[in-house]
Amino acid sequence: MVKKTLEDIKNTLQDVDASEISYAERGYHLAIEAQKGSLVSVVEFFADKGFYLADLCCVDYVEYLELVYLFNNFKELCRAKVTLKVEPDKPVAPTISHIYTMAHWYEREIHEFFGVYFEGHQKLTYLFLHNGIDCYPLRKNRVPVTDDDKKLLDSFKPEEEEDAFFINLGPQHPSTHGVLRVVLKMDGEYILSAEPVLGYLHRMHEKMAENRSYQQFLPNPARMDYPGALLFNLAHVAAVEKLCGIEVPERAQYIRTITCELNRISSHLLWIGAFLGDLGGLTPFLYAFDDRENILDILESATGSRLTYCYFRFGGLYNDIDDNFIDMTKKFIKRMHERLGMYEKLITKNVIFINRVRGIGILEQSEVPKYGCSGPIIRSTGMPFDIRKVEPYAAYDKIDFEIPTGKTGDNMDRYMVRMKEMEISLNIVEKAIEKLPSGPFNAEKVPKKLKPPKGDVYHAVESTRGETGVYIVSDESDKPYRMRWRVPSFSNLMTFPALAQRTLLADAIATMGSFDLVIPEIDR
């Protein structure tokens, strides 16, 4: 796949500098340097081949700004990094938002954080920052906001129209789960258009990373995705390990797998409760929390915290697990299998529930690459894409597990995929405990102060909501030069405006609930 793609690039695109990269070191296979003129044709090439836009970010190298386009393929793993250098004084780049819908938001994000203009972008307004910002925060030198951009700050004001009215769903609303705001243009109970307004929980974690050492950033990822904190923790740790070339002992890998899967179940349980709450059923929430409580107890005994875990360290773990942990986990697995049967009776077979979710919010499989969404959302469309399988990390390559898929990609499928995932996670935990090797749980000789070699690395893990990727650029200092987080909910949310169009308000709420959005993760 990689060789073929490289050949194709060399054959079809002339003035493009493409080369193969060591995947084990960098986390991507191909590095392509595009020019302003050739960028759109390169992106079109990837779009033709069915690649999805995993991430689009920018790095400020002071002499120039580098736009980084990360592509990957759903069918077979082939990560490609396309870079484009732009002037730091008046940065302008061509837009790719007409090819990849998701680029709409990525480009808006880069525009507000770096001041890069994307020619041809239809609505280059602010996405996260709304007022009170006077410079481009992720630039290395202080660059004041241009007058044109100042006008764009807080530019969102819906225009009143006849036969339609606007509803602000959020930021304070029971079913936006945090502080998401969606501006709905309504015709009676029908939604004409929906536009998410982000940034109410924006804390600039990416800038925080640049100002503290790798170790000091360890607690931060858990604050981005609080229900699935361990998985974000792992994404960060594993990316840095890849960058520094640290070998993690076998036992630590297995424990990482076990704890991550337990965390995945707890996150899914939280989601079930919230989703059913969105549909008006309030009781499953408490049932799910009852089970979740068990997982929190188990994880607390190992990690010391109950929600925002910071358990993994570079080269291993904070703490080894003991027999008590294993006993509790085994007991939980037994209990949870029974409880899953109960959930099936209580929720899955409820006629009202089925009527509310079946055939609602259908996401077509062909639409998926445009958005680059991931996780249960794309598995529900029938695409068996799971980072744990295609790009194994921790001990997932040593454990056999299946990937649940749906058929139609509606809310029911998203629900079923997550329910099956919980069962599969239980099996993974069971197998991992059986195979758990003895030995050290920490790598030897990991320096107290990490100074990774120069270069960049991309590492992705399958978090509860999808592909969570970390792109780190190192300049040999003890702080990351740039740390970029590719978060799944961000691209999953992008599908919402399309799915909500011409549906009833109640259906849109159900669809939004089925996405399992975590707002701190979207806003970062």
Binding site: F165, I167, H173, P174, S175, E189, L276, G277, D278, L279, G280, G281, L282, T283, F285, L286, Y287, D290, N350, I352, F353, N355, R356, L504, L505, A506, D507, I509, G513
Partner: protein, 326 residues
Amino acid sequence: MNELNNIMSIIGKETVRAIIGLIGVLVLVVINALILTWAERKVAGHMQRRIAAKEVGPFGLIQPIADSLKLLGKELITPANVERSLFYLAPTLIFIPVLVSFVVIPFDSYLQVKDMNVGILVILAFSSLSVLSILIAGWGSNNKYSLIGAIRSVAQNIAYEIPLLLSLLPVIIIAHSLSLKDIVEAQNGLWFVVYQPFAFLIFFIASVAETNRTPFDLPEAESELVAGFHTEYTGMRFALFFLAEYTNIFIVSAIAATFFLGGYQGPILPGIVWFFIKTYFLVFVILWMRWTFPRVRFDQLLNFSWKVLIPTSLVNLIITAGILKL
């Protein structure tokens, strides 16, 4: 005593009876609301694997009084830009039909404020008024969520009033009377739920929809409309909506008990005890439904009424009338 007799002779026995009855009804409404707020918390708690209120009083029994005191002490916020007269009117208006309905309900063979020969018509006529106050509340609040909730409420109430009436008609045909007391007396042998199981089911479903309870609580669907028509109401004004909702639950359960479960009829225990046992059992079922089911969607709700409940109840009515004619 002599003076009391004098007064009675001047204003008439009926009037005194009505005044005492109304005071009794008011007391019942308040006590019922207190019991139901407590019951709802307890039922919800135990269904959700938690203990619910237990600190205030034994088993948390004083909790509803603490709650109502809290609501009384709250500031009454009138948001800017509301239609003031309508905004104030709605919570008061919602309470009138609720009170009137109590007048004709027979709690026991001798315990009834007034036995009218059009009893059930009075209840149905007045209960359809409550939708008016919801509409006024939604419109007067000048809030989009409230307005959507109010519009939903109107459509829902119109759709479900028809099966509600149609499911009561077979019972009226069998009992040959509109008076609630006569209907109870007609169930001396067998309860009407045995003759009319479908009518009972239809009535029960429709009445849950009429009282805006889950799974039909669309006018106040909290995950969609925040709190629906009473989003903007605070303090005692909100409490009045709440009180009306709980009283409505009681009334529909009382009517169902009267029409289908033999009202105050029952062995050994006095009639009034039977009446309350039956009514509160139905109230419990309504609470049970709320904490078990998710909410239906608006179009499904209307379809269910127009396509399922109304045809079924019509067929049921025709069959009943036909059998009686034979």
